[in-house]
């Protein structure tokens, strides 16, 4: 088990955004989290990655406690994420964005930078060439020197994935990666996510596009009003009466 969530609860004032959600994630799979708008999917991601601190419950990453740690500590453990509303570093180049992803995998400080020592130069070169590799993996290497804010929407989403991969995570959390993409871009994205899994990384995605969800998921979790109402393989979820009710409403008994 790479990730284990036990009775995770997040309360905003009087609103229970997520309520006693528990699940386990096996190494190397793609897990989808689905549910209607406002079901608490992004809140769940925020609690897992330390952007928000949870009210109750525990998060175990590779068996070690990772509950309510600060975001950079969780990234250091090997969890990376993308954001629903794109958060690239707009006025930096695409390459620099990915170089920032390498922050934790490098260590040179202020003084070696000022002196320009050999170790500093060597590390800079390594960061740069690794960043280029991740850009190539995401298919946006041609834009390396473009300012991130000038990228087309779909490529900004790819950049976020490349940047998250540059932190060298074991678990990657993607928040609505296909939102706003055309069918061609969506198809390319699905291929990219599958390649990430082949690379041995575990992926959790939040997604509304059912073609994507059913096409790539190994397992699916369904949230509704902050509560987990179902979990299973794509086929099991497709036929689950609770899921159909949450999405389509209750059938009138006639």
């Amino acid at each position: 088990m790479i990730l284990e969530v036990r009775d995770l609860t997040k309360i905003f004032g009087g609103l229970k955004a997520i309520e006693e959600v528990s699940f386990k994630v096996k190494q190397g799979i793609i897990l989808s989290v689905i549910g209607p708008n406002g079901a608490g999917k992004t809140t769940l991601f925020n609690c897992l990655t330390g952007v928000l601190s949870s009210t109750r419950g525990r998060v175990l990453f590779e068996g070690a406690d990772a509950t309510n740690k600060r975001a950079h500590e969780i990234t250091a453990k090997g969890v990376a994420r993308t954001f629903q509303n794109i958060r690239v570093f707009g006025s930096m180049t695409v390459l620099e964005n990915v170089m920032i992803g390498q922050h934790l995998r490098s260590k040179e400080g202020l003084f070696t930078a000022i002196l320009g020592t050999d170790t500093f130069r060597k590390e800079e070169d390594e960061i740069r060439s690794k960043a280029l590799e991740y850009l190539e993996f995401a298919g946006i290497q041609d834009y390396a020197d473009t300012l991130a804010e000038n990228l087309p929407y779909g490529d900004q989403k790819r950049l976020e994935i490349a940047r998250a991969l540059a932190t060298e995570p074991k678990l990657l959390l993607l928040d609505e990666p296909a939102a706003g993409m055309n069918p061609q871009e969506t198809w390319e994205l699905m291929e990219l996510i599958k390649r990430i899994r082949e690379w041995g990384k575990t992926v959790i995605i939040i997604e509304h596009d059912m073609k994507v969800v059913m096409g790539i998921s190994d397992r699916i979790i369904v949230l509704d009003h902050g509560v987990k109402i179902a979990e299973g393989t794509p086929d099991e979820i497709r036929n689950n009466p609770y899921v159909i009710e949450a999405y389509l409403g209750k059938e009138e008994v006639g």
Binding site: T75, V88, F89, R163
Partner: protein, 353 residues
């Protein structure tokens, strides 16, 4: 239409100074020069000037060489102003680390400038240290002050941070003003000795010019190096998006402390140079206006760009001096200049890299 309205507004603004006739002439003058500008821009566009390749290395070398021979060509009065400009460049480079790189809108930097100046003044006059030993103590002391006053920046963002840092800046000034037994209050501290370098007293303006120039070179070099390092990138990431930066594994708290400590370090150096240059310090030199002035410099030059910050400081120190004959309109010209900047080049003269 917007442009004509803007010109009208400008002319109306100048009427209290220049009278109705003067205002009308100004309006006509601006209209005429704008027309000329449009005409010239169009003509040049058609002629297509050959592109002059811009080489940063050659430009930097040329700037350094001309700065080196300048004191031989200038009157003492201008050397004096150039020294002041150099001190402001160092201060602005420090502020640029905090505001330009890390995006923390800090409006109390005059405090660190003041702490640097006062600690140098006190260490040399009361303890009888020479400039260099005092500097060795002053720099860590100012950095420490930057570190200690960094804690509000951890909780507050944007406007709130600006207000709180403004308050801290005023607190430091008031302490300098009222702690009579140590700082001698509003009377200030006088008879601060000149620096002595290798047994050679740096007393004359020209000598002092080269001393400050040396420090400016060091500051620009170091800040430029840091900008292009892992630390610099982390600061830029915090400026761009703090949440995303934290999710990329950057310990934002640590890097904010670092930015303020490092920024205060340069402010302390500028303060120490200022004290020994003037041989006198008083709380009047470290008011809120001083902080605002420095922020204007880095905005004018281009937030986050080292050459931009240098250019901005030079313009804002030299221009008011050159316009001294038109004393009445100096502040007006400065204000108009900044408004024009915001309209036509909101990114500053040199765009951030």
């Amino acid at each position: 239409m917007k442009k004509i309205l803007f010109m009208l507004w400008l002319s109306l603004l100048s009427m209290p100074f220049m009278g109705i006739k003067g205002g009308a002439y100004l309006f006509l003058g601006i209209c005429a020069s704008y027309g000329l500008y449009i005409f010239l821009a169009n003509t040049f566009d058609r002629i297509k000037l050959p592109a002059v390749p811009f080489n940063a290395k050659i430009a930097t070398t040329a700037a350094i060489i001309s700065a080196l021979i300048l004191p031989f060509l200038m009157k003492d009065y201008y050397t004096d102003i150039a020294i002041l400009a150099g001190i402001y460049i160092i201060l602005a480079l420090g502020v640029n680390i905090v505001i330009g790189f890390s995006g923390l809108l800090h409006l109390g930097f005059a405090a660190f400038y003041g702490i640097g100046a006062y600690s140098n003044a006190l260490l040399t006059t009361s303890l009888g240290l020479d400039f260099w030993s005092a500097l060795v103590l002053t720099l860590p002391l100012t950095s420490l002050a930057g570190f200690l006053l960094a804690f509000p920046s951890l909780r507050l963002r944007g406007d709130y941070l600006a207000i709180v840092t403004l308050g801290f800046g005023e607190i430091i000034r008031l302490v300098l003003n009222n702690w009579d037994s140590v700082t001698r209050g509003p009377n200030g501290i006088s008879n601060i000795p000149s620096p002595v370098l290798l047994g050679f007293e740096i007393g004359r303006l020209t000598h002092y010019y080269y001393l400050v120039f040396g420090f400016v070179l060091i500051a620009a070099f170091v800040v430029k190096r840091v900008q292009r390092s892992r630390t610099g990138r982390a600061w830029l990431a915090i400026r761009e998006d703090e949440t995303a930066a934290e999710s990329m594994g950057i310990n934002t708290r640590k890097y904010k402390y670092m930015a303020l400590t490092f920024g205060a370090f340069w402010a302390g150096l500028a303060g120490a140079l200022f004290a020994s240059k003037m041989h006198f310090v008083s709380p009047e030199s470290f008011t809120f206006m001083e902080s605002v002035f420095v922020v204007c410099m880095i905005i004018l030059g281009g937030l986050g760009s080292v050459p931009g910050v240098i250019l901005g400081s030079l313009i804002l120190v030299l221009l008011p001096e050159l316009l001294r004959d038109f004393q009445l309109y100096r502040m007006l010209a400065l204000g108009v200049g900044l408004v024009l900047m915001m309209i036509f080049r909101p990114d500053g003269l040199i765009k951030k890299s």
